[in-house]
Symmetry: C2
Subunit: 335 residues, 2 copies
DNA sequence: CTGAAAGCGCTTACAG
DNA sequence: CTGAAAGCGCTTACAG
């Protein structure tokens, strides 16, 4: 079907070695030879066979990216950035979504059926624990995103979730709010980010000498709009009405905002609202949403950078890369 | 590094042929042989080398999915559905984004550097024209999404954009609105969907005997929130103020909604608004957005189905698959 | 039911 | 600077 290197060699009257050299842009080819071969290459529309090349070199140029859900704006935006950076480095990204299913995350980490074809993995685990990560027989580079897992084996790119949550809460306190609720805590042992954000929130409350009413810390099994809506409704129906809510993700905040609108609660006059992630949507809600902005492009760039470094033989212990964040004050907190 | 078939064969005292049969679950293997080999397979954690297998079989199990932008909610949701269906069929999806760059779309269609590794392509072109499609030397299955290109070579999965736009406009008319604007037309020769939606809108206006003010049809180079915002502002600042706006995409509508809110224009009382795509976000805006809901899951399923059929040898001329849509009336049109 | 062997298309030491 | 040849790990006709 497709034209092979050998056929091109025959057509140009040189050896496959020389054609290979031309295709791969190696130096030691006589200019006139190169030109002649290139002419044939173009004429027949030669395309190297990726499988053969991989078999020979042991590399596929494929990087697996595993995120909880592609259609969650934060991951969609992050995926976009990672695909862009990886492409620039000559890698092709294969995207997988786990829906936070620990089984699927473990499978992908263990290089299941398709995992075998990746040169490396960028993984944003939701449910994986330290034991899973340490136990993985994986020899190829794995870069972890998002959670602080304390794995010493893998590189890890993250923001300081405690500090970010603390900053978000302090922002609410600085507005004079005193009854501050949170939406997004998780009971499951796997919810690392949730725990860190709750911790940051509690720290800020304690520092300001404010009480942390247990009833005002609402859980969120998933960080989506529906859960945010439901939990905000629960808060509005509760015994203690908050005057500010810190949502652990923007999607939760979008749902919460909708609940407030339905109930005629004014944001920020009655209740101030802040989210987390700075997805584009937050700039267009009414009121626009204050949020925490992790530098997504820096996360993507670092993840790809670490991956490439590992592929090039860097075998130092797992590196922690901390990416900066920024508080973005918008209308939902009175900006 | 990794264990090979040959090594497993030696360890189990059988030929590679037999090990291969066991790995691939073929019939003619004696039960006790199978068991013995399987034990070794498990013990050493054997993983088939995907490159070798591909080289041998000529297939990679990889399907390329090309969308304009991963972080646009419509494409994020569609991608999610396609990845799910393709995975179910045993394929791995490689996602690429073109940002509507015709050059990139052409490259990917022409099976550029990385395109060579795909068994097939699912392509949502923004800028590609018929000539590009017909000229492509591509021999592998290509399924087109979204645009009516009239290509006779490739299968095409789409909704009836004219009918959908007509339905959206009729909906606005049925509310008693008489000065109806549109946001989303495109001048470029490539904007097929835009043209069809404008056509559907004009048809509905003509059928109702309503005028189509040129100043009320606003262009949108990109279908994102920012453009929707800007064009809605332009409408509000214009000589003729509309009492209803049909946005050719939900993102445009979200931006338009924000513009109305900033200007104190009440939706739907002053201006009714309808979008297109039914992305999740539209259910959570205030007011929630009426829209056109294409059956995304059916689009994804059909696309993968056509792809698989082509891979299995179906060589009939390009097939048109029309997917149903539905009008969803929400608060932005008074529901 | 199982084995020995060819060959998929490439890269790359080894010669020259 | 170029050629002849080995071999990456697998699948699969061909024998037996």
């Amino acid at each position: 079907m497709a034209v092979t290197l050998r056929q091109v060699a025959q057509m140009s009257g040189v050896s496959v070695r020389t054609v290979s050299n031309v295709v791969n842009g190696f130096h030691h080819v006589a200019p006139e030879t190169r030109e002649r071969v290139q002419l044939v290459l173009d004429a027949v529309g030669y395309r190297p066979n990726a499988a053969a090349r991989s078999l020979r070199t042991g590399r596929t140029g494929l990087v697996g990216l595993v995120v909880p859900a592609l259609d969650q704006p934060y991951f969609a935006e992050l995926t976009r950035a990672i695909v862009a950076h990886a492409t620039e480095q000559g890698f092709t990204v294969v995207v997988d979504q786990t829906d936070g299913d620990p089984e699927r995350e473990r499978d992908l980490l263990a290089a299941g059926p398709r995992g075998a074809m990746f040169d490396g993995l960028i993984l944003n685990p939701l449910a994986l624990n330290l034991a899973d990560l340490e136990a993985s027989p994986e020899r190829r580079p794995v870069v972890l995103l998002g959670e602080r897992t304390l794995s010493t084996r893998h590189d890890h790119v993250h923001i300081d979730n405690v500090a970010a949550a603390r900053a978000a809460t302090q922002h609410l306190i600085s507005l004079g709010r005193r009854t501050i609720a949170g939406i997004g805590s998780q009971d499951s042992p796997s919810g690392q980010s949730a725990r860190l954000r709750a911790e940051g929130m509690m720290t800020a409350l304690a520092e300001a000498g404010l009480p942390a009413h247990p009833a005002l810390l609402r859980t969120a099994p998933r960080y989506d709009r529906t859960v945010g809506y439901q939990q905000m409704m629960a808060l509005l129906d509760g015994a203690i009405t908050p005057d500010a809510v810190f949502c652990f993700s923007d999607m939760l905040a979008v749902g919460a905002l909708r609940a407030c609108a339905e109930r005629g609660v004014r944001v920020p006059q009655d209740i101030a609202l802040i989210g987390f992630d700075d997805v584009e949507e937050t700039r267009f809600t009414t009121p626009s949403l204050s949020t925490i902005r992790p530098d997504k492009d820096a996360i993507a760039r670092s993840a790809v950078e670490r991956m490439v470094a590992r592929m090039q033989g860097d075998d130092s212990p797992g590196i922690e890369v901390e990416i900066p964040f920024e508080l973005v004050a918008r209308e939902s907190t009175g900006a």
